[in-house]
């Protein structure tokens, strides 16, 4: 029984939050890694584009809510997703046409493109605030919980409980579907394979008759889908605020690099490693150990490895250590 309690405790406080946070990071990191694989630069505007797409979803959701449209227990925002995807696709393609394409044409150094993406970041940053303002926006509706901590406790009779939110279920399910669809697309379709070919060997892809502009456009479209999904799921699970989305940039990058830049599998794994380590390393294990250890051996202190103040640092220390030992990340990333 105590063992079960310990397990439920860990699930409630570490595993479930880490899995849903990890899923959201995974979608964002996938976008970053795809851009890196195809366009070969680190896309610093990612967080802000995420906010832009989500802003589109939110405005549409409000309109739908006002019109009385609802999905029952599911959030209305899911219906609004296409609009957000169109919005972020529009801004990404606009940035590509007006900024990035030029550097592709002149074959600029990747670093120059990274700086250009910094410029885009500044612009989109301002744009988002023009569109929806700097405030926290709430757009979640529908049922909140699949089951609550209390319901779980009452049903199982355990001392500890765990709760699962609808938004967490949606997050995990949607992420699973999107990731599966992406992998199917990349590995099974002609266009997907041509993207991988382009990522592997750009010159040879050109020789094989693959149209680079088409590959780039498709990439931005996929990124638009990923980034809007990530932003919306995150917003549903927590809340929307432009500044927070900008802040998500670092963990998303950490995940992509940790997994191996340019490697989609790596991005997903990296995201879960980051999420799990942020929550796990700073978790205070006292209660958990109280359940597992015999009476009288329970620890005095909180048994916390690191204060939560430094949870952010965990992912970076991890990142640097991994890079030192395996410079291409956990999974082999792009080497050029």
């Amino acid at each position: 029984m105590d063992f079960l309690n310990a397990l439920v405790l860990l699930a409630n406080f570490v595993l479930i939050p880490a899995i849903s946070y990890g899923s959201q990071l995974a979608l964002g990191a996938l976008g970053i890694t795809l851009i890196f694989a195809i366009l070969r630069f680190s896309h610093f505007a990612h967080g802000d584009v995420m906010a832009f797409g989500t802003a589109g979803v939110i405005l549409t959701t409000w309109a739908l809510q006002a019109a009385g449209v609802s999905l029952g227990p599911l959030p209305t925002a899911l219906l609004a997703l296409p609009v957000g995807i169109v919005a972020s696709a529009a801004i990404l393609l606009a940035a590509d046409r007006s900024v990035y394409r030029f550097y592709r044409k002149v074959k600029a150094k990747p670093i120059v493109v990274v700086m250009a993406s910094l410029g885009v970041m500044f612009v989109v940053n301002g744009l988002v605030r023009f569109v929806i303002g700097p405030n926290d926006q709430n757009f979640a509706d529908g049922a909140r919980f699949l089951f609550t901590v209390r319901e779980f406790r009452d049903a199982t009779g355990l001392a500890e409980g765990m709760g699962i939110r609808i938004s967490q279920v949606i997050t995990v399910v949607v992420t699973a579907i999107v990731v599966a669809a992406l992998f199917w697309f990349l590995n099974r379709t002609r266009t997907g394979k041509s993207m991988r070919a382009f990522s592997d060997n750009e010159d040879l892809a050109l020789l094989s008759g693959i149209n680079p502009e088409r590959v780039v456009t498709v990439t931005w479209l996929i990124v638009a889908v990923l980034v809007t999904m990530a932003g919306t799921l995150y917003g549903l699970d927590k809340s929307f605020k432009a500044f927070t989305y900008f802040q998500l940039l670092l963990p998303m990058f950490a995940a992509a690099i940790l997994g191996g830049m340019g490697n989609p599998v790596g991005a997903v794994v990296g995201a879960f490693v980051i999420a799990l380590s942020e929550v796990g390393v700073t978790y205070a294990f006292r209660k958990f150990l109280e359940y597992l250890l015999p009476d009288g051996m329970a620890p005095e202190g909180l048994v916390q490895l690191l204060s939560t103040d430094y949870k952010f640092a965990v992912s970076f220390v991890l990142l640097v250590v991994v890079l030192l030992v395996r410079p291409t990340g956990l999974f082999k990333g792009q080497t050029q």
Binding site: K193, R196, A197, D203, L204, L207, S208, G209, I210
Partner: protein
């Protein structure tokens, strides 16, 4: 009019040009007939690879023409030349390393409309080892096998001419012999082969025609056997 029996399938005529201001090629002519193997040899820096790239359109020509089956293609981009029937295997970076062997071949057929399974089977028949390893990532194969993937990929468009830039660079002599055997086999199916080779002796041995370039210009042009027999060619370029 173009006569497939006598006229060269591909000819770069009087090519002059280079990457920047300075010319590398000077009035250089390279050609290959149907089903034949043509080899470009010469000392280091003679412009062998440059001549091949010029034929393939990766270099701006100030003078000269390139004709494929009688059609002037001088102004076409490399991609357009691929769809016109030219296959090109670069010296390095000539495969998609993280993709499987089969995907590599599929990408070779990217511009082809319709079913290419038959060609795939032909490539597998030509290189049986690739059929065995078709689910494996190409980057994990040995050097010789990678070259086979690269050649196979170029064959997927069913080219009239297959151009190989130093296909045997960095492979062992045994693998080299095997590769040359395959190249002969390909030529027998009617595909013209144009290749640049470091291993001049072995290459000229299988070549119908050889071009010896020096400083971007033709020095000797003759059949492979004739060149091998020419004492001056032997002394200057084949190490005795």
């Amino acid at each position: 009019m173009f006569d497939a029996a006598t006229d060269p399938v591909l000819i770069g005529e009087g090519m002059t040009g280079g990457y920047g201001a300075a010319d590398i090629l000077h009035n250089c002519t390279i050609s290959v007939n149907r089903g034949e193997i043509a080899v470009i040899v010469g000392p280091n820096g003679a412009g062998k690879s440059t001549a091949m790239k010029a034929v393939f359109g990766m270099l701006n020509l100030r003078q000269g023409h390139v004709r494929l089956m009688g059609e002037d293609i001088t102004a076409l981009s490399p991609q357009a030349r691929v769809s016109k029937g030219m296959g090109f295997v670069p010296q390095t970076h000539n495969i998609f390393p993280t993709m499987t062997v089969e995907e590599n071949l599929e990408m070779g057929a990217f511009i082809r409309e319709g079913d290419f399974r038959e060609t795939l089977e032909q490539v597998y028949d030509l290189f049986p080892i690739l059929r065995q390893k078709r689910r494996q990532a190409a980057g994990e194969l040995s050097g010789g096998q990678r070259q086979q993937v690269a050649v196979g990929r170029a064959l997927m468009t069913k080219p009239a001419v297959l151009m190989l830039d130093e296909p045997t660079a960095g492979v062992s002599p045994i693998v080299m012999d095997e590769l040359f055997d395959r190249i002969i086999e390909i030529a027998r199916t009617g595909v013209s082969i144009l290749m640049v080779e470091q291993n001049a002796r072995q290459a000229l041995d299988i070549a119908h025609k050889g071009f010896v370039l020096v400083q971007g210009a033709n020095r000797f042009t003759d059949t492979g056997q004739a060149l091998l027999a020419d004492p001056e060619v032997r002394r200057s370029f084949l190490g005795g």
